[in-house]
Symmetry: C2
């Protein structure tokens, strides 16, 4: 049976299962969420009001046997940026949605009775919506346990913790991974949108479904083999990431002088040695954890890990570079165990690592805490933020809002979203991605670090302006397309360096759907997605003036290279000339 | 000697006294501040960073004997709206600036040593800048006392209290009035800009100056007589305002169903009788206060007052309609004495009555306090906000930011500035002014209440859309011009109804400067000011999508008329077709 659009209307607690309109047929993941949001959501609506929608969509290859195809996209108007948002995640939801034949799940409206929170359960051709007063005030792991008990261990779960209930802008939507741990639709405050709709959790039936069908299964298998080999033979996706996880980047980026430290005051951190991937891998091995772990079924990179404490007891997983940078370098905590403890807490609460880390580092400028004080950071999150005290509300509102509350000028945000772990002054291609992507400061939207630092897809000097706009544009077009397939961002490395990788990916799509897509079609899809998103943002009131780096980076040189952000407005705005 | 531009550069603590460029010669007040800000301030700069400027400019007729000409303009990029801001005020500064020959005072940069605050003293052709550590942490009246002791009782003083030091977005710049009480450059968070520049106070020498000169003194006197007569014979500026002050409006607007109550949930307040101008005038008379008081020398309307407490002791003055509405109707405090006590505190701290009142009323939705609890409101301002506690910081960040911190949807702001005391759903012409003025929600920018409610300049049904855009446009053009003369907003009433009033005003300008301005010239000036301001805002990143009423007003009918905001985007955007 053909895939369907599942649509929940919370205004009257009804649902519909609709045929997929022709113009959405070839779309998945980000292409589909952005297309639906652009078509159905008033760009001027209040993102936490009744006219915003949440759109979940698995990638085109999700549910198949393709390596690394398990990413699920969530789209909405972001309450953090005020623009369109797509945030994709590993975990088990993408595969299960795809196997159930859910092309997209659209959630609209707000319940009339907003005195409690609700649970949406999706099964084949059926949706249940029920109040769950017993889960109100609980965090993600308690919800996960309750749902696994109610259904079974395989059920897909998307949930929010207390910060999402409180509509905090740092809150994410958490998703169960294959080991019953959590991954996140992290950025853009999408947990607040879910909270505004009074949805505590969404579950998807993982028992009564069929495997996805293939137009040409043999061709698919063959292409997948080539694709998998490309992933495994690439030095980054096949060696660096499996060995040290994403945290392999701490030393690399620190050496490049681009590791933002102490609220973006330096590109070097004195904590690099203490928090780097090599140190972490050693600790994991000593303590009997695991340096490899896939965030979704079918992952051949296994860049995640299981991190145990000193006594060998499980502490956290999905302990990524961005988290370790944010708390280790930017907030200055030189103790991996302390950061891991915070990571576990943040998973449970459902907080975006980048937004939260930048907010706490900025909170040092507001004299709320001190650099390196991991215990106080933990307490602030556990006791203040999670309980919605005034200081907790302030921290829960994110970096940009904290800056407004305290009248701060050195506020590292683009479109009000906190800047990730690559200094735009010292890795300028990445800076172009931050300012131009319709998503707000986002490293995955066009990972220029690949070519600026990792020599993937050639090399462009990170300290110079030349070539960066074209680099970021090409990467953003490719990433938008890749985000539509369900593939993880790290397929970018073999895709940039191995000429067989991208054709194999396209072959898989064609073999799955019986289509005849070419590389040009994929590029055109990427362009179309970006333009659709940009157009939504313009209608929502964003302009070229929002495609800007924080002003202080234009006049404050960043050590060790003592570089400033030196792109002119005209140069930046030329990004959109395509 | 010709007027000069006085320019302070805080980066190196220097100053210059410059000739007035030809293109600024015919400008004063808002025309001049907006022209200078548009020319000299990067629209994309951080409003609290080193590249914003503060521009003070008296009106064209300030310092003359013209009735009601004592308004001073302050311009900057607003940290509250992100757009251009002009906020004008009575008090003594305009007249003294004009008599000293200060066409404008421009303050730029930020002191390198930001460990303390500074005092700028302006005398004829000379400026002193000195640190004032002894005033740090003091509020406005203490600064006023210190300055009057240092100089004399006539010295003009502009200052900030602790909220301004803390760069809170609700903070204003306070100005001494003729009786040693305070008036405010109230809106747009300009106190935060002054705080960001580490300026605690600015004083202007009121002894060593000359009276302003006139090209034709006799003609000026004659025109002033006609103008004054028009003011005095108008039923509003000559009777209603002198008898009951601005607070005469509570009953009128309540009866029209347009008095925003309980965070804009109704157009009627059950407190109207307790807080109205008639009740207030009675109390004032009983207690030996004064129902008349001018905010600046030469005022013939005297709409302000002196309000005593039950024991006949001075409590506050400048106790205006917006303040009484904000705390009495919108926050629901039914006790004028309690509101007066808050008013006195807010004068001392330097808080914008509209922004603060709307923030506290919205804080009820955030469960921070309850409607009608004046004692708690007082405590929150005195103990929390003034001391910069977390909850104080939240309240100090204004209505829009409070909404973001608590994930609220019913947030009454336009361009992030709180909506004043006239419900846009029920007084639609005023709503058009709120959404279209480059200032953010501002009632003085185009006071359509005049024609919607007060039958001044004809009558246009406040509940219908017809004619409102043209009405608001004409009023905004006229107001921009009037704001450039130093005249108070209430000259609008005779100007709308007495055909002799406006020609007399123009005659005064011509007699002062030896010019030959016509009514068309004045209209063109108003248009040019609006377009200059609009252009700055567009460059700063504001768009048509910022010319919008809060979305909830489009779907939530307002009692008692059960009206919604029903203008289409196209209708609103047609405002700028001139």
């Amino acid at each position: 049976m053909a895939d369907k659009i599942y649509r929940v209307n919370l205004n009257d607690m009804s649902y519909k299962i609709e045929d997929v309109p022709q113009e959405w047929a070839g779309l998945g993941g980000r292409a589909l969420t952005s297309t639906i949001v652009a078509k159905e959501v008033d760009p001027e609506c209040h993102p936490l009001g009744p006219n915003n929608k949440m759109v979940f969509a698995p990638g085109l290859l999700s549910g198949t046997t393709a390596a690394n195809s398990g990413r699920n996209s969530l789209g909405a108007k972001s309450p953090l940026t005020g623009g369109i948002k797509e945030s994709n995640v590993g975990g088990t939801s993408a595969g299960i949605f795809a196997k159930l034949g859910v092309k997209a799940l659209i959630i609209e409206g707000i319940p009339k009775d907003d005195s409690t929170f609700y649970h949406i359960h999706v099964t084949k051709e059926h949706i249940e919506i029920n109040p769950v007063p017993e889960l109100v005030g609980k965090d993600n792991y308690a919800v996960l346990d309750a749902m696994m008990e109610k259904y079974n261990k395989k059920v897909a779960v998307m949930s929010i913790g207390r910060p999402g209930e409180m509509k905090m802008l740092v809150s994410n939507v958490s998703v169960k991974d294959p080991k019953g741990k959590l991954r996140s639709h992290g950025r853009g405050g999408l947990g607040a949108v879910m909270g505004s709709k009074k949805i505590k959790c969404i579950t998807v039936d993982a028992q009564n479904y069929k495997e996805v069908s293939y137009a040409d299964k043999e061709k698919f298998k063959e292409a997948n083999k080539i694709f998998t080999k490309a992933l495994q033979e690439n030095p980054i996706s096949g060696e660096g990431l499996p060995a040290f996880g994403t945290n392999v980047l701490v030393n690399i980026i620190n050496e490049a002088g681009g590791l933002p430290s102490r609220n973006f005051r330096s590109g070097n951190s004195e904590n690099a040695e203490a928090i780097c991937g090599e140190t972490m891998a050693e600790k994991i091995k000593e303590r009997g954890g695991s340096t490899t772990h896939g965030c979704h079924a079918g992952c051949v990179i296994q860049c995640s890990q299981t991190y145990n404490d000193e006594e060998g007891k499980y502490l956290t997983s999905g302990f990524e570079y961005e988290m370790i940078w944010a708390f280790g370098a930017n907030l200055g905590i030189n103790d991996l165990d302390q950061i891991a403890k915070i990571d576990a807490l943040m998973d449970d609460l459902g907080l975006d690592a980048i937004e939260m880390g930048c907010t706490l580092a900025l909170a040092v400028d507001a004299k709320i805490l001190e650099y390196g004080d991991g215990k106080e950071a933990y307490r602030l999150l556990k006791d203040e933020l999670a309980n919605g005290t005034p200081i907790g509300r302030i921290l829960g509102s994110g970096t940009g809002t904290l800056g407004k509350i305290y009248g701060l000028v050195r506020v590292p945000v683009v479109k009000n979203q906190a800047i990730p772990a690559y200094e735009p002054r010292a890795i300028k291609g990445q800076g172009i991605t931050y300012v131009t992507t319709p998503m707000g400061a986002d490293h995955t939207a066009g990972y220029a670090v690949a070519t600026n630092i990792l020599n993937s897809g050639g090399y462009i000097d990170p300290l110079k302006k030349e070539g960066q706009i074209e680099l970021s544009r090409n990467l953003q077009i490719a990433s938008a397309a890749v985000d539509s397939t369900g593939m993880c961002i790290f397929v970018a490395f073999p895709a940039l360096d191995d000429p067989k990788c991208l054709p194999a990916l396209i072959d898989m799509i064609n073999a799955r759907f019986g289509t005849n897509l070419t590389a040009d079609d994929v590029t055109n899809l990427g362009k179309k997605i970006l333009k659709t998103e940009r157009e939504f943002n313009l209608k929502a009131g964003l302009t070229n003036a929002d495609d800007r780096i924080p002003e202080f980076m234009k006049y404050e040189p960043l050590p060790p290279h003592n570089v400033v952000w030196d792109f002119t407005n005209e140069e930046i705005d030329s990004f959109w000339n395509f």
